[in-house]
Every structure is written in structure tokens, then in C-alpha cells.
Symmetry: C2
Amino acid sequence: MFDAFMRMGPDELGEEMVAAAALIPGCFDALRDRAVASNVWYTRISDQLVAELVGGRAEMRKGEQTRQEIIRKAAPIFNQKGYAGAALSDLMRATGLEKGGIYRHFSSKEALAAEAFDYAWRETLHARIHDLDTISNTVDRLKQLVANFVERRGTIPGGCPLLNTAIDTDDGNSVLRERARKALRGWRSYLISMINAGIKAREIRPRVDAKKLATLIISSLEGGIMVYRLERSEEALRGVQAHLDSYLETEVRAPSN
Amino acid sequence: MFDAFMRMGPDELGEEMVAAAALIPGCFDALRDRAVASNVWYTRISDQLVAELVGGRAEMRKGEQTRQEIIRKAAPIFNQKGYAGAALSDLMRATGLEKGGIYRHFSSKEALAAEAFDYAWRETLHARIHDLDTISNTVDRLKQLVANFVERRGTIPGGCPLLNTAIDTDDGNSVLRERARKALRGWRSYLISMINAGIKAREIRPRVDAKKLATLIISSLEGGIMVYRLERSEEALRGVQAHLDSYLETEVRAPSN
């Protein structure tokens, strides 16, 4: 669903797609405001398609390619070192560019960090959700989502961008903090939509509180990531997974008749 | 128990105390090695007692007092801004000292940050566990520990020092990272001891895996702290608390005969 979604223009989006848009920083608000910037939708389109779309405007294309390349290479630096810890020298080394070459494309370190976060979060989510639509039962889908979270950790080196950026900015940088808040809201909205759809389909017990369940899943997995990152051992994450699996089976899945 | 423990010399410590020592960074290893540095034990002793102990050595006492004061004032800075984000100017402003006045007492920023972390973690733990020994049943004690975690968050401004330092250093600073690892190990060892004592006393079901339960409690609470810090809303933490309370009642507490 994710890939298909990212290739669509706003006119093609149905309700399910709008719910999924909650996942991509910036998209949800843009949709709600009925003012979707087309560049958001095309970020992940293949190079070939970009070439077709922009036609002969080779110079602009190259500038945008460089910009995306800087974002892609800066993302692991910010994710590993944090905002304050990411030195210009680190960014220059990673991108192979001089200071001027980087800041021609971004107004500030903060602007680059914000784009790098959005990129890192998009890639992380993609790894966590991209194959869920092949699973029909909602509880099974939630379990696969938990498994994806545990097993597909290495998308962007440095751990979960949401956890890192939340902790890095909770007392400071308001631009980055707002990006992290949006990411969390989107991630939770996606889970809530899925859980509510499961209740409607009678796959999930009617008394399950979708927001509470979504928050529990997010909190325990993110806390498990902290322990995993510190100890470099999967044990905590696997423990959280086993606990959530058991909880989903015994307290969330609707009993079959 | 905590206060009593901190006032004791190593000779007075029983087995329970040794288990509790796991909580204080540095103490556990020191005990194991039978080489307890007395200054570790007396850190929290009242000023009056310090005065009695060191007698007329006023100059040394003053130097140590200044050192402790720097640690106490630097702790919130490191906890809020992270290691890289804590600038010398921040530390100077917080302590009211010049650069030379700070670094006369610490060999490096890293050395100060490590002491500041140990202090912040000790204070945080004290808030989380200091009244638990008034509760006799182990499951009730675990529930109170969870409640303390949720309700006593503001000990050191900036959120949980363990979570912050773990995320801040998981890709970098090995000295600080090791302090955070020790803090996590100690925190978990304390919980494991408590849970195993509960199994022995038949208050906790015999099949409960103490390490898994301890890790689950830590992971979900720390993840809840992340959401709380980002959203400035207690909702996630209260949700985690309700979930853990219910789990402790239904799956952990031994059924009464």
C-alpha cells in the first residue's frame, strides 16, 4: 500500500489512503487543508519517472537530486549523533561536499536536520508497514507490525529516528520537536485506524480502546529499542514482542464463535 | 531502605543490601571486588555528618562541597541538553563559576558528565524506590514502583536520565554509555531480586520469568516517558501504568488459596 500510495497524486486518494497519509510527516495536515504540495507525493518516485516529469529541465533536476542526496547522507549522521552532536565536519565528510555546497540547498542546519528526520522516519515506517496489506486479519496484521518493528531495525543507522529525535529535542529545538510530534501523531493515527477497522470487522473485541492500545504498542516497542540499543542485545525487544503477541491474542482478538 | 543503606559502611551490609547496591552505579562492582571506596557510601550523608567525619579539614571539605555543588548543578544541564548540547557557557551559567573553576575539579567534560549522570540517576532512583519497603506484598510493591515512576518524574529536570543518556550515547561516548549500561543493569537487578523474593514468598506465580518481567516493566515505562516528554501529556504513561497493573494482577500475582 505504501509504495502505491506514494506514487499517487492527491486526486486518486481514497479514505484509506487519507488515513495512511497520517504516517507521512506533513502529508496529513496538507491533505486536511486541501492544499497538497505535489512535491511531497513524488519524493519516492523512481529516478526514471522524475526524468519524465521534469522533462528537459536538467539543471533543476540535478539540483534537486543533490539536495535529496545530501538529505539521504545526512540522515544517519543526525540519527546517530543527535542535532547538537552532528558537526559540520561530519556532514561534509558524509556528503563529500564543502560547507557552501551543503548550505546552498538548505537555509540552516536546522532545516537540513528537519528534512533528514522526515526522510529517516519515512524510510523507517516503510520498513515497518510496507507488507502489512497482504495480511487480511487485523490482529495478525498488528502482530506482523510488531515483528517488523523488532526485525527491521537497521533501515537508518542509529536506531529509531522518532525515539532519538524525541529525546534529543524534548527540551530544546522546537522545529525538530514539532516534526517528531507529527511523526508520533501520524504513527499512532495509523495504528488507531487499523484497530478501529478491526473492531468494525469484528476481528477485535468491541471494548478495546484503540488509542490506548496504539499507545501501549508504541511505548513498549520504543522502550524496548532503548534497552536494545544500550545493551546491543535483542532480548528486551523479543520480550516486548512476546508480551504484545500474547496480549493481542488473549485480550484483543475477538473470540471466534 | 535506600536512606538507611546509603548511611551504612560496607561492613554493616547484609545480602539484601548487596542486592540493593546493584542500584547505585559503581557500588555493585565495588562490593563484588571487596574494595569499597568509602566516599561512595557517604555521598548522601547530611552536611552535618560530613562535618563531623572530616573534622577540621575545612579546606578539603570546601573543595569537595564545591565539587558536589558543580555536579548537582550540571546534572539538569546534561539531562536536558545531552552531552554534545551542554555547552561550557551553560555549565558556567548554572554553576556561577568560570571555566577554570569548573575544570579544577574535573579532568574533562566527560568526567563531569559521568558524575552528573550518576548523581541524576541516584536521585531518580531514590524517588522511585525510597518508600517501597513499607509495602509487604511484592506485587503491591511492584505496583507502587510503577506508580512512583509515573508520578515522581521531576526529580531532575529533563526526563529520565537513563533514557536520555542511553539514547544520547548509544552510538558514541563510551564512558557515559558504560555508566548508562551499569545503571540499567542495576535497575533490572533490583527488580529481578524483588520478583524472585516474591516467587519465594509465594506471592508471585512460580512460572513468572523474573528477568523478562523486569525488562518488560522497564521497557514499557521508559517508552511511555518518551511519549510523555514529547507530547507533554500523562496519557501514555497512565496507559502503561494501567496495563502493567492489570498484567501484574492477572498474570503475575499468585492466586490466593
